[in-house]
Every structure is written in structure tokens, then in C-alpha cells.
Amino acid sequence: MKAYFSELFTGAWSLIVGMKVTLKALFSPVVTVQYPRQKIDVTPNYRGHIDLIKDPETGTHRCITCGSCMRDCPSDCIVVEGEKREGVKGKVLTLFTLDYTKCSHCGACVEVCPTDALDYCDDYEVAGSAREDFHYDLIKRVEERE
């Protein structure tokens, strides 16, 4: 009989405590944002697809066309091409494409890069209507970025 009543009262009390919690939530400020109209900054830990970093000193990428990323990529989704030019030391990068349809975000290319030319971008709106939409030309992307 004692258990019957103690169960009733502890149960009722726990209900009141629970209702207090939700009532407090009701009058707390909203924590979500109205996404397409309102956007919040992406956390620096976010791993988007890879992108060439724009060096603030030279105003262009730091790629030396060594091809390590291309060789290391387990999915063969990176293509790097360069050519020798008169009066320029080393090779000049002419093509750097990423086939994002095959990329698995393993990050081997970012790890292996000797000049730290690659990094993950914070692009999260990457919907497309055709496969070709995900074949990124990273040189073009680095030039277009301000």
C-alpha cells in the first residue's frame, strides 16, 4: 500500500518536473535559423571537397604540379597536368580537376601535399542536376575566388 502511494507521488512529481523543462524551452529563444534566407558560418572542422588555397602573398595557388595528390588518391578522382615554360622555374600548372562523384573525403591529397596547396572548402550547397556538375576545375575556382 505504501509503494502504491509513493509510486503515485513520485510519478506525479516527475511529470511536473518534465513539464517545467518544456515550459522553459517554450520561452527560450529559438536556436534554429530559417535556412535559405539566413545562413550561419560553417565550422572550421567542416570537410567539403578539396580546393586549392589562394596564397595571399602571390595571389594565386601554391601548387608545384608534383602530382603527389593524383598518385595518392585511392579513387583516382584528381587529374593534375603541368608544362615546362621558358624562364619559369619548375612546372606550371595547366589542369587541376576533381571528379567529386568519386571522391570519398579521405583527405590523402591534403595530407600528402608538400606545399600545403590543398585544403577542404566550406562549400555545403553542392546540389546538381547532372554528373558533369561535379567535375570541378579547381584552377578556375581559385581564380574566381576573391
Partner: protein, 326 residues
């Protein structure tokens, strides 16, 4: 004018009352649908509907148009006549209890001597509709939902009636107006146990969370209305919202003194403001607990009814009878 005079004034009054009830049913479904979604959002620190109209105020109208335009899918092996009948049986009777509710001194369809019995009898028809809908869908989820709804409604009707009966003994009338007028002190203070019992039974009776076993999403997809689409589904939903409103109105009349409140000018009409305020307070409570408590297990639901609510309501009734007799 002569044809108009040929009608009894009582008939004209009834026509106006029925139209008013219809407006109330649809208006309440709109307000409640919006309020529920908005409150659900804010209870979870989201915003709820925001896109259609100012803060999503037109969302329910848009949803209504969508539901009306949707195709009514009838499962191939369903019992077709019964399948179509169930939402109608659920929705059609919800107008009737609204006719006898005294919204204010002058706003009432008609004052029935057995209004309470009438309302509870009509409210029970909803169970019938749920059972028919669940059976006719020819779907195991619907069937289980219907079984649960019947077991639950039968169980919870008893403590609900017993708790209200305690008040009927005090006032000696089944008429809602009589009960409202008898309250010099609100009955919530004289009958707190009956109030709590009614509150719990009301949630179970309207099949709302945490007692929404008949439509438990996680176990039964949507319970008895799994197979219903478009307008058939929305008839069930509107019936549910109206039943919530009716249960809230009964609670207002029985425990919170109905229209009593700070006197306003033309109080015989403006009493409806206090009445609706109190009724919607109960509706808020229903939404509040829905977004607070997890769903109970079925045996717990039955235990709560038979082991707690029923003995308490019987003891409460006994004490009330003794005190009234003294």
C-alpha cells in the same frame, strides 16, 4: 416576410446555432492546427511554420487546399463502403455537442436537461468510427490501432464519467447551464481530485499523446488512419481537434465556472471571451503535455486507469455523496 414568420422563431434560432457550430468546428481546426504546430516548434526551440503568410499564419489554409485536392486512395482489398463511411461517422456527430455548450448567457444552441449525457454519448461515437476505419482498411496496423482505441476509450470513459458524476451530485443537474450557474466557487477548488482525474481521462479519451496509442507513429505507422489520405484523413483530424475542444469545454464548464470572470460590458454575450480563454487554456495544456511526455506502454496505460484513476474516482464519489447528504 410572411414566409419568414411562418417559421417558428425557435427554428431560426436552431439554424443559426447549427451554422455557428459548423463555423466553430472549422475555425477551431484551423486555429488549433496552427497553434499546435507553432507551439510544437517553440517547445523544441524551433520556429514552426514560417513561410506562408506572416509567421506562417496561412499555412493551415494552404494545407487544407492541398488535402482537398489530393486523391482519395482506397486500398484494393478494403471494405469500400465501410472505409468511406468511417471518416463521416467520425466527423458528422462532432457538431452536436457544440449546440448544447453554454458559451455565454445568451450564446447557446439550446439548454438540454441531459446535456452532459448527450455530449458524452455523442463523443463515444468517435470510437465506433475509429473501429470501423481500422477494420475496413484491411491493414494490420490500422486494425491494431482500432483495437487499442476501443480498449482505451472504454477504460477511460469510466473514471471520466465518475469524476463528472461527483459534480452532478453536488449540483443536482445534468444541464451544463445549471452546473455553470451553481458555481459560486469554481469546482476546481471543491473537487480537485475529480479535476485531476478528468484531466487525465480527457487526454486519454481524445487519444492525445502521451496516450496516443491508437495512432502510435513509431509502432503502428499512423494507427487507424494509416490508409486514409486527402480529405478522409483531414475529416479524422478535424474530428480529433473538435473532440479536444469539446473535452476542454466540458472541463471549463465543470471546473472553471464557464463564463465567470471579470465582468465586461454586454456580459450576456461577451462572457464567451472568458469561456474561450479558459477552453483554449486546456487546449494549450493538451499541446504542452503532448510535447513533454513520451508515449506510455499499453499495459501502463491500462494500469493507470484501472489501478489509480478508477479507485480514486470511486472514493472521491463516495466522499462527495456523504458530504452532500450531510
Amino acid at each position: 416576410m410572411e414566409t419568414l414568420n411562418a417559421f417558428a422563431p425557435e427554428l431560426i434560432r436552431m439554424i443559426i446555432a447549427v451554422i455557428g457550430a459548423a463555423v466553430l468546428v472549422f475555425g477551431n481546426a484551423l486555429v488549433m492546427g496552427y497553434m499546435e504546430r507553432k507551439l510544437a516548434g517553440h517547445f523544441q526551440r524551433r520556429t514552426g511554420p514560417m513561410e506562408v503568410g506572416f509567421h506562417g499564419i496561412l499555412q493551415l489554409i494552404v494545407d487544407g487546399i492541398k488535402l482537398m485536392a489530393k486523391q482519395l486512395v482506397i486500398p484494393a482489398k478494403a471494405d469500400k463502403p465501410l472505409y468511406m463511411l468511417a471518416p463521416i461517422i467520425s466527423f458528422a456527430p462532432v457538431f452536436l455537442p457544440l449546440l448544447v455548450i453554454p458559451f455565454s448567457d445568451r450564446i447557446q444552441g439550446f439548454d438540454l436537461d441531459v446535456a452532459l449525457l448527450f455530449m458524452l454519448a455523442i463523443a463515444s461515437v468517435n470510437v465506433f468510427a475509429v473501429l470501423i476505419g481500422g477494420w475496413a482498411s484491411n491493414n494490420k496496423y490500422s486494425m491494431f490501432g482500432a483495437f487499442r482505441a476501443v480498449a482505451q476509450s472504454i477504460a477511460y470513459e469510466i473514471p471520466m464519467l465518475l469524476s463528472l458524476l461527483a459534480i452532478v451530485f453536488m449540483t443536482n443537474t445534468f444541464s451544463l447551464r445549471g452546473i455553470m450557474d451553481a458555481q459560486n466557487v469554481w469546482f476546481i477548488f471543491l473537487q480537485p481530485v475529480a479535476f485531476l482525474i478528468y484531466l487525465v481521462s480527457m487526454v486519454a479519451e481524445t487519444n492525445r499523446a502521451p496516450f496516443d496509442l491508437p495512432e502510435a507513429e513509431s509502432e503502428l505507422t499512423a494507427g487507424f488512419h494509416t490508409e486514409y489520405s486527402g480529405m478522409a484523413f483531414s475529416l479524422f483530424m478535424m474530428a480529433e481537434y473538435t473532440n479536444m475542444f469539446i473535452a476542454s469545454c466540458i472541463a471549463t464548464v465543470f471546473f472553471l465556472g464557464g463564463t465567470s470572470g471579470i465582468p465586461l460590458p454586454y456580459f450576456e454575450y461577451t462572457g464567451i471571451i472568458w469561456f474561450l480563454l479558459k477552453a483554449y487554456m486546456f487546449m494549450f495544456f493538451l499541446v504542452w503535455i503532448r510535447w513533454t511526455f513520451p508515449r506510455t506502454r499499453f499495459d501502463q496505460l491500462m494500469n493507470l486507469c484501472w489501478k489509480y484513476l478508477l479507485p480514486f474516482s470511486l472514493v472521491n464519489l463516495l466522499i462527495t455523496v456523504v458530504v452532500v447528504k450531510l
